[in-house]
Amino acid sequence: MDKLRTNNEKLSDSTLWNQLRSGDEEAFSLLFERYYSPLVNYGKTLMSESDIVKDCVQDVFVNIWSYRYKLNDAIAIRAYLLSCVRKRIARYHEREHIFSKVKDVDSLDFLFDFSIEEQLIADETMAIKVQHLNRLINYLPTRQKEALYLRYHQGLSVEQVAEVLNMNYQSTKNLLHRAILQLRKDFPISVLALFVEFSINH
């Protein structure tokens, strides 16, 4: 067991997953340690009460252990865990309003706002542009924002984003593409071209 722990960094998700599936408690704990923080952070983008988010993430792990022998082997662990957390939070909302048709997995609101990499901004012109773009991104519909977050922050593939958001592949692809297309339209290239020339001459 100690050997497993010291090698934590080296063991891949899927190795740990397979050991967990055969009932290895240490593998379960290692996966928990690896994913608890990122999952809580993701959960907080969907619900502001962080205590409930933490409970939800723990519930997800309780269920994983309870059904360990029935888990699928060939899955993308990160996407699977993110999607479990999302469902869990949706279910929490659902239970809160069980007889009103308000929340389901599809209508969870992504509450998160992207911020700006201040320390990487070289000059005033760039600062203005990044601020403008940041504002446009944050004004996107919540679903598009969440798709961008999952695709580019969590590093999921388009298929995996589709799975987490419970959408089909093509609509997810369109959703992601539309978000960027729309903003590029709002964010004139001419302004950019000027900037590019400037930075090349620089």
Binding site: S37, E117, I200
Partner: protein, 367 residues
């Protein structure tokens, strides 16, 4: 992964981890810098992608090791507890069973819901009439046939200024966990704050959801667009899920932002700068132009502003309130709330009575 020489879209760069590392941490193991300078076209794309990455920072609070360990311990305890239960009990008490039961209930209700809605769902337009017929609660309908805005006060002390040729349907009293009203035409809404009971305005194909704020909805059945303009607070506008074959679209709006729903395309257009939008400006109402921020102002003037804004008449003991001055901010309040705040500031012997468009202030003067 795709070869970077074939990158043509911003997306290609954003999803490339080594590109992200180069921008974020200046790690350039694969010589992005050189590669970028090989062509101007490329440099353009790279610079744009760089801006995207800089504008999409995700700030997260890392959970400490100690906290993670505690959580892990708690999780093992929950696992041990769920194992202790007898098998039958586990089924009944397991979250799986509960949620499966919940899913069946939800499944049934949606099934009933949708089968009863098939009539409406044959077309992508949704009319006021269809919406009102669908609501089973007894609704009151108010139609403004006059040529001036008409004030409606709802049971939760929210107020609505209904424009001419417009209709509003609402329940006599709001029950349950939501407040729902239906609009045809144009109205300016000031909603009393109640975080537990969201307020919904159904208008044509759109649903506006708020907890307490002021905003305008323009939804005439014979016009191509639906417009929602926010004055205070935060508002979510979405398309009605009953529109056939269309995904739900939604936008979040902050003060002085607006959304226009294009009914033909079933899409929202977000308007970030309302001062540049001609169609919106053309229909600005007097109440939205009046300021309800008062600093040391005679109460008679405050009453006059309210009379202008809501088209009501106010009777008050002129002499007794002659020397009363108030400093107060009433912008984000529906009319009943505004009156309540004024009465309270004048002193505890002051109260108001409201009879349709007529308001009487009963007071012995201010403190």
């Amino acid at each position: 992964m795709q070869n970077r020489n074939s990158y043509k879209k911003i997306e290609d760069f954003l999803s490339d981890e080594s590109f992200q590392r180069w921008v974020r941490r200046n790690e350039d193991l694969t010589h992005w810098e050189e590669w970028t300078l090989e062509s101007t076209e490329r440099a353009k794309l790279v610079e744009e992608a760089r801006l995207w990455i800089l504008a999409m920072k995700v700030e997260e609070t890392e959970i400490s090791n100690e906290e993670t360990q505690l959580a892990l311990q708690k999780t093992w305890e929950s696992i041990a507890q769920s194992n202790k239960r007898s098998p039958i009990k586990v089924i009944w008490q397991s979250n799986w069973f509960k949620s499966a039961a919940a899913m069946i209930v939800i499944g049934l209700t949606t099934l009933i819901y949708f089968t009863s809605e098939t009539k409406i769902a044959t077309n992508t337009t949704i009319t006021y009439q269809e919406l009102v017929e669908k609501d089973s609660d007894g609704l009151i309908e108010q139609t403004n046939n006059s040529d001036k805005p008409q004030l409606i006060t709802l049971s939760d002390a929210s107020s609505v200024l209904l424009q001419p040729k417009s209709k509003l349907s609402y329940p006599k009293t709001f029950t349950g966990n939501e407040r729902k009203v239906y609009l045809s035409g144009e109205g300016f809404f000031e909603i009393s704050k109640d975080p537990k009971k969201p307020f919904y305005v159904y208008a044509n194909e759109t649903i506006t959801k708020v907890y307490g704020t002021s905003f305008r909805v323009v939804a005439y059945s014979n016009q191509p667009n639906v417009e929602v303009l926010v004055r205070t607070g935060k508002v979510k506008v979405s398309s009605n899920q009953d529109i056939k074959n269309a995904p739900i679209e939604e936008v979040m709006l902050l003060p002085n932002q607006a959304a226009r729903f294009l009914r033909k395309k079933l899409l929202f257009e977000k308007i970030l700068d309302i001062t540049q939008d001609k169609p919106l400006l053309a229909t600005t109402n007097s109440i939205e132009q009046l300021s309800f921020e008062f600093k040391d102002i005679p109460v008679s003037q405050i009453f006059r502003t309210i009379e202008q804004g809501y088209l009501v008449s106010i009777d008050y003991p002129t002499e007794k309130l002659n020397s009363c001055y108030l400093t107060t901010s009433l912008s984000d309040e529906p009319l009943p709330e505004k009156l309540k705040i004024i009465c309270e500031s004048l002193g505890n012997n002051t109260r108001y009575e409201m009879n349709g468009n007529h308001i009487i202030i009963i007071s012995n003067g201010c403190n």
